[in-house]
Symmetry: C2
Subunit: 401 residues, 2 copies
């Protein structure tokens, strides 16, 4: 099988390296040798062995009938979308790590692949090296999926872990993440939750078979989390994570990206540093969790190449469940039920006890003008009503179990 | 698709229930309705709706050309083996939860299925509801697998968790497990590690494509673990788990079932109670972990039914990677490298410090005639040599990282 790799950045060079390094065992599993015939990049790489297969013009690839699989690892919606669509229409399977592309155009591209009896695969678009797309599609098929919750962004998980370990504030932890290469100079897509939002849109679309517009998902990042919030979490023996989550309750499907305070009994509690994990709750299966490296050159490349193996094994046979282009209408999060962690100034003490059923309470030595509570579970709407007119220092959704 | 279920015990009744409960979504994913045409059991179930499809004679099933998939959930090698082989030879796919059958005859049954362009699937045979067989086969295909380590037995994990939480001894925890239905009256298969042994034999066979005889795997249970061992583990901020593990080092493949003392940085550290988890280490992927309910009626049934869906979707197409009937020769565990947790009587203090590089040491208040150490990593052989002639109170492999 001859393949072409679009983009020789971190993931693209990883794909080439993985195929070179594990070529023999990959050939055994794919049933034939995988050969990188072309790498497309605008840049030149003098001295790099990739030079021999480097091309600057996509036409060379899309017009070469020998190329059976196109690997798209450029990122961004354009020109990726145009390239991928043309490849599929030319009868080539496509494997991509591009979450933006999949979240925006997944339904359409899956449909084209189905029509053409080829495959559009995207294991690497969510959770890096963690197998989650294929298990959702092919393993968890006996269940009604009731919840998908993931720690889907390594950068924010690193920052939150750092804040907890060192007691530092958000800015300090972000700088550390940037100096280690875990966060970009412009960290907005990660810290504001946009990256996690696209990923949970993909998982939710797959779980329920309809297209979720990521623009519809309420998305809150971690920039407002303070050292004091983390200190309270520690007092409660809990931990704050950025959760990207969707839940089915009755006929309503909710989706939300937001920080959440969770306890030690949550399987996601111990997912620290740059690791990712996804918890899936099925109505008969209960909880299963998938854990691993959510990013990084080689783990992500491993997932991309596993898709190439699958595409090679399934030449002429479409294997992906599709999600329809029909839009999934998300329910208003007003109805979503959580516990709430809330910090109030001292003056609100009486009102807080009047208005809320309080499960836990804590004080911090160096914040003696305030207190924190964790409420009983209630809807977002009910919480907003009860807290109305009160001065809230900070508020984070929580899960006490 | 019409199916037959062999055995109406815990898992068998679970399979019938899952198909009844989630029939619509299962039909959607399988591309057609799944109907239980027969249930085979020696017993009668007066008043149970299963009566309508209950048969006592296997000939009815194997001779009915309408039956496309046979679900084997009787357990034990015979008559399961005979029934399954006949079903496959009659052109029916088989889905089983039977780890003994798969560990003993997997290679042969996979080969028959391949020849007949049908499928022999066994997702539920390892890790209950956790997707692990399919991910190993279809997702982790770009990697050389360097290690598979699992907490594969819920009974022993419950007992060890109980001993840690309550400070009780093995017998007390076992009684509790029995009273809760987590351990059988004759608990030998679980507590001696035999169950975990069969499961790691299956995973190792799949990972390396050759048949691992489970009789070849060195297997130690948890019956010798004492309350004092657990108390030391707590002092070290570590935890004792029953690990079923195989490792590839160079060209040698090692396999071992034995208790191991692990630290908080091991992803398996927080797998408590009856939960199972499997950690797979690939040479490019790094660590991925799969976590969930390792047993239980509905989670196990969910895995079986997911196999039925796959068999239905792949009528006429064999999808399982096979492992050859050629025997995988395991390397002698003498060469296996670990840290060692060792308890010595006080008198051995000087010798211990002379002979071992000691990473950690601890004393227990109520055991003032002894001490415990954790050694630097060394082979089993080297450890045996160094400890020769010394009085060892207890010794457990450890992993300090």
């Amino acid at each position: 099988m001859k393949i072409a790799v679009l983009g020789y950045g971190t993931v693209g060079s990883g794909v080439v390296e993985v195929i070179r390094r594990n070529g023999d065992s990959i050939a055994k599993r794919a049933g034939q040798e995988i050969e990188v015939k072309y790498v497309l990049d605008l840049r030149d790489f003098p001295g790099d062995p990739v030079e021999k297969v480097l091309v600057h013009d996509y036409e060379v690839i899309v017009n070469d009938p020998e190329v059976g699989v196109v690997v798209e690892v450029m990122g961004g919606v354009e020109p990726a979308y145009t390239f991928v669509k043309r490849a599929l229409l030319a009868g080539k399977s496509v494997c991509t790590s591009n979450k933006e592309l999949v979240a925006k155009h997944g339904a359409e591209l899956l449909e084209i692949a189905k029509q053409g009896k080829i495959n559009f695969l995207f294991e690497a678009s969510v959770g890096g090296g963690i197998p989650i797309i294929r298990p959702l599609n092919q393993s968890i098929t006996a269940d009604e999926i009731e919840e998908v919750t993931g720690i889907l962004n390594g950068t924010t998980n690193f920052i939150l872990t750092k804040m907890r370990d060192d007691g530092c504030d958000f800015e300090t932890a972000l700088k550390e993440a940037q100096s280690l290469g875990y966060a970009e100079r412009n960290p907005q897509a990660d810290v504001e939750g946009f990256d996690a939002c696209r990923k949970i849109a993909i998982l939710t679309s797959l779980a329920y078979g309809k297209h979720v517009s990521y623009e519809d998902i309420q998305t809150e990042g971690i920039t407002k989390i303070t050292a004091a919030d983390i200190a309270y979490a520690k007092k409660f023996e809990m931990s704050i994570k950025l959760f990207a989550s969707s839940r089915k309750v009755g006929d309503s499907i909710y989706a939300l990206v937001a920080p959440k305070m969770i306890g030690v009994n949550n399987p996601l509690y111990t997912v620290n540093g740059v690791y990712n994990a996804i918890l899936v709750h099925g109505n008969v299966l209960g909880d299963v969790m998938f854990y691993g490296s959510g990013a990084g050159k080689l783990p992500t490349a491993s997932a991309v190449v596993s898709d190439v193996v699958d595409a090679t094994k399934h030449k002429g046979v479409n294997i992906m469940q599709i999600w329809s282009t029909k839009k999934l209408e998300l329910a208003s999060n007003e109805g979503l039920v959580n516990n709430f962690f809330v910090r109030f100034p001292k003056e609100e003490r009486k009102l807080a006890w009047d208005r809320f059923e309080i499960l836990k309470t804590a004080l911090l030595d160096d914040h003696d003008d305030e207190f924190a509570i964790i409420t009983s579970p209630m809807t977002e709407k009910e919480f907003a009503e009860r807290a109305q007119g009160m001065h809230v220092i900070s508020c984070i959704r929580a899960d006490v179990r």
